[in-house]
Symmetry: C2
Subunit: 405 residues, 2 copies
């Protein structure tokens, strides 16, 4: 796997061009409209928010993919307005946004997917979208990936990009993706979006299977604030341009590479969480099964008390045990062990239910690292899960106390 070296050299997979422009939707005048285009019709799959309140583009894309998953030409995305809680008008605008891109690209509206992120409850300014789409279509280029990755950001401080190369038989294929989200889950900012391009040849069923598995180990293992967005969407597009074919025989290799790209993006999102100063990695092993391990890691990752303690480099391990205790996961406190740190240096805080005496200063130093690693071993079975989050700081409060007003 070859990670992406720098934003400047970031490219999408073979067969794709892209552009990012400033349409005026962001009052700052920053880039806010992205267009990703496949030269030939490509195979697509999507994973969407499970929130009952779904933004118009989520509902719209699900309809498009249900009938046209082997024949997608483009994704058009905007920041600055989430097109969520916008009723019938919102659905018409989502479709119109796809239609504008289709007109510019001379393809069918049914071949275009739509993403929006930003403030909830406001209608899209369609005049700006129209100008933006026209301009983006005129600037499509292989090196348009950088501005496209920047154009979908909201309160993010950095673009999130990742890539991998895999050998499939005699051919080499690429997976190149970008994402945004400064909380996993920021309903008002309507929030996590990801676009993964690849040049493999793959059926829509296998692509969907691979994407679901990759998302399950990455974006679904991510928590900034426990809030779930109305707009969360990850799209995968496969152009086939490399000629490398994914089939059931080599599927695992593709899933592994795709998962690596998604995990990289997920960690970048956690580290850039609103107000965050560091990435936190919670590793639970020895659970009865993976679901129980995930449940416990998630409860710890969502605990504001754990997140504020890590922010203050305070080895407040009792908060971690308490969160484990209310997670609903099955475990025996008398068999639980807890460490701060990783293979490069760790302190065992609890040994099979018994608190160890430890050097508070050394433990505090482990919480100054980035990432901070917190490991729990339950001694019950072989279930394990890793969840990523970030510390909770006063800056989070400031950012979120006045997002709209």
């Amino acid at each position: 796997m070859s990670p992406v070296d720098s934003l400047a050299s970031f490219r999408l997979a073979a067969g794709f061009t892209s552009a990012g422009v400033a349409s005026g939707l962001k009052p700052s005048g920053n880039l806010d409209l992205a267009l990703v285009v496949s030269k030939e019709p490509c195979t697509a799959a999507g994973v969407f928010t499970k929130n009952r309140v779904k933004a118009a583009p989520v509902v719209y894309d699900q309809q498009i993919l249900a009938k046209n998953a082997t024949n997608i030409r483009a994704v058009v995305a905007n920041a600055g307005c989430a097109n969520a809680c916008t009723g019938e008008q919102g659905m018409r605008n989502a479709r119109r946004m796809g239609e504008l891109a289709a007109n510019a690209l001379k393809c069918s509206t049914e071949q275009v997917l739509v993403l929006s992120t930003g403030v909830i409850g406001k209608q899209l300014d369609m005049a700006k979208i129209e100008r933006g789409v026209t301009e983006a279509a005129a600037h499509l280029a292989p090196d348009g990936a950088r501005p496209a990755a920047c154009a979908i950001l909201t309160t993010d401080t950095k673009a999130k990009i990742a890539g991998a190369q895999i050998a499939l038989g005699s051919a080499h294929a690429n997976i190149q993706g970008f994402a945004k989200g400064s909380g996993m889950i920021h309903p008002w900012m309507a929030t996590m979006l990801g676009v993964i391009t690849t040049d493999v040849v793959i059926s829509p069923e296998l692509l969907r299977h691979a994407l679901l598995r990759a998302v399950g180990k990455s974006f679904n293992r991510l928590s900034v604030d426990g809030d779930m967005s109305t707009n969360d969407t990850v799209l995968a597009l496969a152009s086939g341009a490399s000629g490398a074919r994914v089939d059931t025989a080599n599927l695992e290799r593709f899933v592994e590479a795709l998962t690596g790209v998604c995990i990289s993006l997920a960690k970048q999102i956690a580290r850039d969480g609103e107000g965050a100063s560091k990435l936190i990695e919670i590793v639970v092993t020895g659970a009865p099964d993976e679901a129980q391990a995930h449940r416990m890691a998630d409860a710890i990752a969502c605990s504001p008390l754990v997140k504020t303690a890590v922010h203050g480099n305070d080895p407040n391990w009792g908060r971690i045990l308490a969160a484990a205790g209310y997670s609903g996961a099955e475990f025996d406190p008398e068999r639980l062990s807890l460490w701060f740190g990783d293979d490069q240096g760790a302190i065992q805080i609890v040994s099979r239910g018994q608190p160890n005496s430890f050097d508070v200063r050394q433990a505090s130093d482990l919480l100054r690292r980035d990432p901070v690693v917190i490991r729990l071993a339950l001694g019950m079975g072989s279930g394990q899960a890793t969840v990523w989050t970030c510390d909770l700081s006063a800056a989070y409060i400031q950012i979120n106390s006045d997002y709209t007003t």
Copy 2:
């Protein structure tokens, strides 16, 4: 119902005396040990944390109540140390704390309940506990309720007290309680404690039934930060001193009065949440059933994005809908209506799924009130629930970033 007028005049129900002293467990030198004593053996009931990680006094009290619920003489409580995650030594210390109180009061150890709150993972300093119990036993008095209510506080800024008077037949009875908790649910500070005294004559079964129902509508409807403590405990003690008898015929009146006392205490806890500047009341009506209403109200109350928006007086209603959407509660977004404010003045923000245009400044003014009332009507059934929480401020982060170090 006669609420308590002031801390200075606060008394427990007839038949009880109490004291609060400074034993040195709090480095500040503040009151930290409380003793509540019933002149005659009294009936007792308890509701305890559901956390799998239970503090020693929780396990200990459950054992005492299982065999001795009609024969309790005292509750001894300390702040400054939660006696949680303390293993076998912790259990021995919990019992020893009860024994010390029993010796001072010349009763059996089996007649004493024990409460602890404070830092997790440290052993109790039993020399301080012993001095404190001796001193408290020497100062028992009817007007010891005020120092007792103060002695159990941790990061609370105020004592929480409430009372009610009810007529049962020709007799009048009182319910007088106190509580602590600056989050409902602060595992490290191990956190929500409540002691409710009453002078009714009641069986342990009816007292437990009444307490469970009252807690279900009050302390279980309270969220400061979504964290659940290892120590949460509410005890009810009935001395019988008023002669007023509670039986199945007048049980509802008693439950109602007890619920009122518990709701008052719960609201005081939410308003005094760590770093909080105001109480938030989330009211969900028209749900398919009460459990669904509670689930939705709880998700909104736990959302850091909703709580930060209210902190900033920002009428960010999309965050409320998004939290409703991921709560897991059954509803149809097209039938949901949303208001800020109460009968004294409200603005309807969403009408059956359609966003209204509203005056942002007026809406912001409604969020400056205390309490802030947020109402949702789902139009599905008759289920309703009210949940109390507080806003989330930068002060919460400061308080929790360095509680131990």
